[in-house]
Symmetry: C2
């Protein structure tokens, strides 16, 4: 494929997606749910083809020497396909945000202004290896009335194509508009650049993957991007903390699932209680094989077993059994540290002092702030949103857990009887 | 100034703005209103210096041969300064969106999730000639708890600097944090590029100006941009319209103030009534000296006085006494035309048929859709928002009139008593 062909193919997909989006925008919730259930059935009935396609990706991955962890993320089996289909059926059960009235008022001149939730339109999703994202992302976009253009990674191209085809073909008999779910057939870098530049047809682009991918999309995109960057999450144990609770919350946030963005990366301890608290929390963390990297004061208190933290540690998302630890003079120092080194994701204070807790919640500039709750709860499902498309570290449009509501825009509908300005 | 100095100066302003934003975020509404009133007083008390600075800009503009219209936009006098100060006092009277509770619920595990409006943080505003934007934009951002970095055009640099200084100096004795309002001292293109690339410190960038400026910012920006593009607004006169009302609305939307984005640019008339309606509306428009550019059918009905519309006319924002006119087969054709050639700004249907009206409102993909109301009402003040920063033609975060509420983000505050996932 030459550049012109890549460009033309993607722009044609854009125009088709735009037509699909207009058709999707007026479907009732009931209709969309019927379509979703038909898509789930379509996926199940085509599981043979999907597994065959997946076998090609696995073989290619083995030939390319992918690690076993990477191959595992790539691999599908009957259970995994059933789980993907089950996920679609769960989305069908969620409330439809489209059509919700956000505001309504009658102005002095008699015109009535109604603000109503509407779909965004066409959403581009750029993602890496896991083929289940093909379905998860497309389905959430569809439920909220949006058309999707998907661009997956090369390792999963056969699986992604089989899944996208199964969803579109499965949904069409139930009323899914043509081209509502399209997968870009190219996996080179150029297709990312073309998609990110296509603001004529794309209303939003969401990169789902590592920092490198997000950086690339941010620098190329001409339309809004919603980013799901690192979670450098903190827990601040304040002088008046219930220390037993603080140990429990720290251990949970660090070790319950260290590989995710809402896991704890830095523990901040108020100086007044450091001598008493640090040995307790260290014992519990060491029992879970967590490596501690501390500042001078932490090393003084806990001894040689603590590695010296470097400046870089404070802004590192380990996603591993490693925790940086710092003793801070007071709450202001803790908040300053979080607002400087954190990633505005999820941060917690443990204290019995309500006033200090409220001050922490107000002054920490992060998407999710917690008082006496593990940061691991930053999650669409835990927030009662059902499925989520990710945790946005942006401040515009969507912040924190991003679910169906965040996949919508709004429109003002104004009704009158001849109002003019003259 | 060399590139490195421009870069360093703007990044230092960014860091300072970030500190100011954290201080602003926790100010009470009362405090911010005191500051705003002090800023208004500061502006009035420094009107001598501002007029002196403005005289320099006017002299430079005359030397450079600016048109008299451009010079008029640039010119300040005692009345205009008083009007700017009055505008600040009006913003002080508006409700503060910060701190508003958007949602609150208690989950099964007992944790309480509260969603609260918070400021965005640091907002960059890039604008062109009018010096009053310096105050209007900074003041709306401040009321909503945000710090601003302003970058005005070269023609108004002295006036802008004098106004920004007066606002900051006037506000500080009342508690305005240092560096809450900063003006970039450079007016070259490079400063736009540096600002648009500074996602480390800038949360949002808003270009206020012509299409060229917006395009430049869109292609350079690494942070969210809210765009205020053209308004290619339509009125569709449906077969069952009250034709007298349709004439009134058409004339108002086109001629009451043709130079603004919510003015009418294209009239669509349903074929069934074209023979009857077009002569009536043409007579009223010609009486106001509006030039009509029509499709074949319009020319057949109205004769030689109608210029033949080209393909380009359908996507042109005239901002002048010119109107393109097209006869369409039915409502579907009208909606398809609007969704193809429009700019998703403001579009209207005139009809007595409620069902058709509702279908139009649902299927036209624009920020503001009207039934029997002139498109000229797309305006923050008319919508009851008080002052506005512009009309967003974006679909994310802010759509349509963008006011104080749209200058905020939100944060989830979660309170518990030791909840963990383990």
């Amino acid at each position: 494929m030459n550049s012109q062909e890549i460009h033309d193919t993607i722009y044609q997909m854009g125009q088709q997606a735009n037509a699909a989006a207009h058709a999707l925008a007026v479907l009732s919730a009931e209709k969309k749910n019927d379509i979703l259930r038909a898509m789930a059935a379509g996926l199940r009935s085509r599981s043979g083809e999907i597994l065959e396609a997946n076998a090609k990706d696995i073989a290619a991955g083995e030939a390319r020497g992918l690690t076993s962890a990477m191959l595992d993320r790539l691999r599908l089996d009957a259970d995994r396909i059933d789980a993907i289909a089950g996920g679609i059926e769960q989305v069908a059960e969620l409330a439809d945000p489209v059509g919700e009235e956000l505001d309504k008022k009658v102005m002095g001149n008699g015109m009535e202004i109604q603000q109503v939730r509407v779909p965004i339109g066409v959403i581009g999703i750029i993602y890496e290896s896991r083929p289940n994202v093909t379905s998860d992302a497309a389905v959430l976009c569809l439920k909220s009335g949006n058309a999707t253009i998907l661009r997956g990674g090369s390792e999963a191209i056969h699986s992604n194509r089989a899944i996208a085809d199964a969803l579109q073909a499965g949904g069409e008999p139930a009323g899914l508009p043509a081209n509502a779910i399209q997968l870009i057939p190219f996996t080179d870098r150029e297709s990312v650049a073309v998609l990110a530049g296509m603001d004529k047809w794309l209303d939003l682009i969401i990169p789902r993957g590592g920092k490198g991918l997000i950086e690339t999309v941010v620098s190329l995109a001409r339309m809004p991007v919603i980013k799901h960057y690192d979670g450098i999450c903190h827990t601040f144990v304040e002088a008046e903390a219930d220390q037993e609770m603080a140990v429990k919350i720290t251990v949970d946030a660090k070790t319950q699932k260290p590989s995710v963005c809402n896991a704890l990366e830095t523990l901040l301890v108020e100086e007044k209680i450091a001598d008493e608290f640090l040995p307790k929390v260290a014992e519990a963390l060491w029992a879970k094989n967590v490596e501690l990297r501390g500042d001078d004061r932490t090393q003084q208190i806990l001894g040689d077993k603590v590695v010296a933290a470097t400046e870089e540690d404070w802004s590192t998302e380990y996603l591993d059994y490693i925790l940086s630890v710092k003793v801070v003079a007071d709450q202001d120092a803790a908040v300053a540290h979080i607002n400087t080194y954190g990633s505005q994701h999820s941060d917690c204070i443990v204290t019995t002092n309500e006033e200090n807790a409220e001050r922490f919640l107000r002054t920490v500039d992060s998407a999710c702030v917690y008082h006496n709750v593990s940061t691991r709860f930053s999650d669409g499902e835990e927030y009662g949103f059902g499925a989520e498309i990710g945790i946005s570290t942006d401040k515009l449009h969507a912040r924190g857990p991003m679910a169906l509501r965040e996949l919508t825009s709004y429109q003002y509908r104004v009704r009158g009887n001849g109002q003019t300005k003259s």
